[in-house]
Amino acid sequence: MGTTFGLGELGFLIQGLKWTVLLAAIAFVGGGIGGLGVALARTSTSRALRRITGGYIAVFQGTPLLMQLFVIYYGLGLIGLTLPAWVAVAIAFTLHASAFLGEIWRGSIEALPKGQFEAAKALGLHYVPRMRDVILPQALRIALPATIGFLVQLIKGTSLAAIVGFIELARAGQIVSNQTYEPLLVFSVVGAIYFALCWPLSLYGMRVESRIARAAAR
């Protein structure tokens, strides 16, 4: 073996990047839907719903993502579900993201002034329009910086999918590094790609945060 780092190797990294982005996107969309459900359940009047989702959040916040990946990847196999690796990984990330986003959004729903809920009720608005038109637009706006922060964590967290044999960006880097014996160069490139993906998001999150702070100070 022993190739040099060239276009072919870069192409291999880009293949890995595709999976990283795809996995993060699936987790974010799935987690967005799941997280909304979790946040609504956590703030509902049903004690049972609050308890169940509370337990779910506790488990996923209290264990390492790596372990969640293992358990879901091999667990699904054990119960006889033979899914493609990427589906199993996507399910694990979606469950993980649902718990974290659900908890972020629960916090922002509960942070809204009680008067907003009361005014909506007094006007006769039912639960669905009350949440959809009055509460959630405000709550998600407050939660935007934390949501973006979690998305950045999620993108970096997809590297853990390598542990179950998934070739995303970090794993692709490892393979190329083993072939070229140029770990420093290869991982610099890999790091630069992660940075190019995450930094603009972080920057945007900070912008939104200061805009919200300015609006609140008015």
């Binding site: 009361e118 009720k121 006769g124 608005l125 329009p129």
Partner: protein, 258 residues
């Protein structure tokens, strides 16, 4: 609407709001004690009393923002019984104005006013806007229809809140200290709006310590302390010669502060 059959008394002098032996607890705290109150159609009531006496609690029970432990509340012939059906029926006939306005900050003035008619009454956007513009004219704030609440003064926001409630064309309006959060120079514009509403025949229950307003529009002043109604009287006799000693000391304090 289930209310129409029960409320179809042709004489029109059946009460709009009835509270019978209402008791409410917050945990172990007895917040309303055997409250009995009847509000006639078109009647204007001013509710006063020291802070913590249960005035907010009382009016919040009327539209089921608070639930009661015992007793009965009947609004426009509908018995409030914790069922979604009765709560919906009552809320669609009862408007409420809060001390802190509680406008929706992410919506324009116009959107604040059209949301409930569209979502609750199912009217079209065009019809809701026409109604909203009419009521925004009436509270003299139509030129700000496309602004956001944060761009308005407190007095303007409170007038928008009144218009927003009126857009549902309620049969009664509840006011919970609508001028208490306002800078003094803005109190008058809100009170003037309320006086106008009273002149037009709206049934009103107002928690307020604005004694001038009470004198001008109230048919009845109700004095509460410690969750009980201690005195009910016409404003003139209440202010001239309150009977209950607690009402006397309360009025003394109010006058000392003004």
């Amino acid at each position: 609407m289930p209310s129409t059959a029960a409320a179809a008394s042709p004489s029109g002098d059946d009460p709009l709001i009835v509270m019978e032996d209402v008791n409410k607890w917050y945990g172990a705290y007895h917040a309303l004690r055997d409250v009995n109150l009847s509000v006639r159609r078109g009647e204007k009531i001013v509710l006063c009393g020291p802070s913590g006496s249960g005035k907010s609690t009382l009016i919040r029970c009327v539209n089921h923002l608070e639930t009661i432990k015992t007793g009965r509340i009947i609004v426009d012939g509908v018995r409030l019984d914790d069922s979604t059906r009765s709560v919906d029926a009552v809320r669609s006939e009862v408007g409420m104005v809060f001390q802190n306005f509680n406008l929706f900050p992410h919506m324009t003035v116009l959107q604040n006013c059209t949301l409930a008619p569209m979502r609750v009454r199912g009217v079209t956007a065009a019809a809701a806007e026409a109604t909203a513009k009419r009521y925004l004219e009436r509270v003299r704030i139509a030129e700000h229809a496309h602004k956001y609440p944060a761009q308005l003064s407190g007095g303007q926001q409170q007038r928008v809140a009144i218009a927003r409630a009126l857009c549902m064309e309620p049969k009664v309006m509840l006011f919970d200290e609508p001028t208490s959060a306002l800078d003094p120079e803005m109190v008058k514009e809100v009170l003037d709006t309320m006086v106008g509403l009273a002149r037009d025949g709206m049934t009103m229950v107002c928690v307020t310590h604005e004694m001038g307003f009470a004198r001008q529009v109230a048919d009845r002043v109700i004095f509460m302390a410690e969750g009980q109604i201690l005195e009910e009287a016409e404003p003139e006799s209440f202010f001239r010669a309150p009977k209950h000693p607690r009402a006397r000391s309360f009025l003394g304090e109010i006058l000392a502060h003004h």
